[in-house]
Symmetry: C2
Subunit: 196 residues, 2 copies
Amino acid sequence: VGGEVVTARSAPRGERRDRTDAVRNRHKLLDAARATYAEFGADASLKAVAARAGLGVGTVYRHFATPEALIEAVLADHFTELQNRAEQLRREKAPVDALGEWLDEFVTHLGEYRGLARVAMPQMQDPGSALFASCHDMRAAAGELLADAQQRGSVRGDVDFRTVLMLANAVALAAEHDPGAATPALSVLIDGLKSR
Amino acid sequence: VGGEVVTARSAPRGERRDRTDAVRNRHKLLDAARATYAEFGADASLKAVAARAGLGVGTVYRHFATPEALIEAVLADHFTELQNRAEQLRREKAPVDALGEWLDEFVTHLGEYRGLARVAMPQMQDPGSALFASCHDMRAAAGELLADAQQRGSVRGDVDFRTVLMLANAVALAAEHDPGAATPALSVLIDGLKSR
DNA sequence: ACCTGAACACCGTTCAAGT
DNA sequence: ACCTGAACACCGTTCAAGT
């Protein structure tokens, strides 16, 4: 990263222009991605995103080497927001209620674009993926909600957050084909977490 | 169907040969499909199935107009077996245990081929699909396990079988990326179903 | 240094020609 | 009547040429 700074400092006009263009294009691409996902679903082609952004396909591939990388970049904002929500809910509500409410919002976020839950799931479960790394802080923050509830004895101690998140992810995916199913499914999930 | 019988009866040698060849090919294709799914996953192309069967692509499309139709045909046997298992478990076990055991087996069946749960899910949830119709009897038989448990008061009365099956489907899908997660997830699911 | 888009390799599907 | 496979339309990705 240090090298880049030096390059920018000592660069001639044209090169500098390129760098700010590149930054601008990155934003253009993210906006275009959101619009394209909204219209065609999260499995839209990078070609479609390029067309929407008014840029060449090559430019998309330069900034986001794979469709997954673009998904990850778009989801980063959502993960930050969900992390904040977890911290906020921890202050405001009793642990079990906070966890239940957070899971509900998590499912809602994964439902923003058609196909998003489907596309995100494999990466969400793969510790080696960029997306997995990208949601680390969110996972940690929400994981504390579970830990709190378990310490209080209101949630059974033999489940880990990985399982909980995976089930929520699965509910989001099922809700994609049947939106009305999310609420009853989450109700069963949260009841299953509670101690007896 | 009556017309077909007449055709077969009054048909010349060549035509009859064609009909028995067609039946033979259908079986060849189903065998090839199972082998191809086992090797490449349930989202294998019809081209790959044709190659494995030693038949032209067109023949596959003649027998199974879409990839979904082929999946449906392959799953039909599984659905029959799962229906029988539901009836058997109903005789042998207490309602909640029977339901739990059946869900476990359902998840196992959907895990037979990589990608099977993913491919089957949308159709499983679409009442208009051929696959949905094809698993009607299975759904009815397993639905009685739930009804029994609810009548006994051991399972909460406010969930319908659609939600239960959807969750099991979701667990199967999640298990695809993380096989070890199926058991703890099912444990949470079944606990969530129980009355308190 | 960055961007473009034609070119490439590949996919699923169709349908004219053959048996 | 059924089967074949070349032909078609389309996809995601790369990379030589341009600015």
